[in-house]
Subunit: 153 residues, 2 copies
DNA sequence: TAATAAATTTAGGTAAACCTAACATATAAG
DNA sequence: CTTATATGTTAGGTTTACCTAAATTTATTA
């Protein structure tokens, strides 16, 4: 699997934004990255230089940025896990905006093993033949604190 | 609910360690906190001064530390959520050590709403009359990628 | 009780990630 | 094609959380 240990959480966050912008426009520019991350342009420039050192972006002063192959692979796997987390929180009934924010926070701080188990768990509950009923039961429990069906086993 | 927004993640982490040590020995001292958090004593002293400013600990130079009421209430709720997260990861099949580390990382970075939903979800799956069977099915799915029972609904 | 050892604090320094203000380059408009 | 505006970069500064080395205080023990 990918070695992400060497990247800081912040680097990963920038990488994802660059990936998103690149998907939209074919490249990413400083102002847009800054807006997306709620920071000022000089912070972006600084980070781009660091990302380039790590061979994650192709960066030319005063020109836009694109991801290297390595950067893209990493960004994709980050985004995939971000999605997993977000969907999981939404299933739990967390508000969409908050689910997204929390996914964003968490995706950079947990072990790969946990990511994998969570992904499998989400697939399990989403693809389960019992999925719709099961979810209804949870929603009911969530509101009332009681189990809808009492039959055991 | 508690306003945690004003505390940094690091402050919360120290608070929890102090809480643990206090439960064990009645108070916490600098060396033990430093060991538990894998930092050097001067970092602890610095943080204790900060925690005192926030009225979370009773701190006297060269003497030990104890939590204030405010600090204790906060530490308790942090620890409770830590436990919830850890148990959840363990249910998913994550290794105990990793589950604990990840719980520790996450507990300081997500919204209260998410914490609450997760807690309810954990109660739901743990107290469910179907709990043991349900878990078996997940473990089976986790290993084989297939659902054990095929009956729908 | 004086001397040594252990624990704690202070002083001063580093790295990451941010900022503002000033400067440089690129783009667009006259 | 030159100037005005956009965008991007550099220089230098801040904050947080860490560090080492050098005091200082407390505890131990000879």
């Amino acid at each position: 699997m990918l070695k992400m240990e060497e990247l800081s959480k912040t680097e990963e966050t920038y990488l994802e934004r660059i990936y998103d912008l690149t998907k939209e426009k074919g490249y990413a520019n400083v102002v847009d990255i800054a807006m997306a991350l709620n920071v000022k342009p000089p912070s972006v420039t600084e980070m781009l230089q660091k990302l380039e050192k790590h061979n994650l972006v192709n960066y030319e002063r005063y020109r836009g940025v694109t991801l290297t192959k390595k950067g893209e692979v990493l960004a994709k796997s980050l985004e995939q896990f971000h999605g997993t987390l977000r969907r999981f929180f939404e299933i739990l009934g967390v508000d969409k905006t908050i689910a997204d924010e929390d996914a964003c926070e968490i995706e950079h701080s947990i072990h790969h093993e946990t990511i994998e188990k969570l992904t499998k768990f989400l697939k399990f509950i989403q693809e389960s033949p019992k999925h719709p009923k099961w979810l209804e039961h949870f929603r009911y429990y969530e509101k009332t604190g009681r189990y809808r069906c009492r039959e055991t086993e």
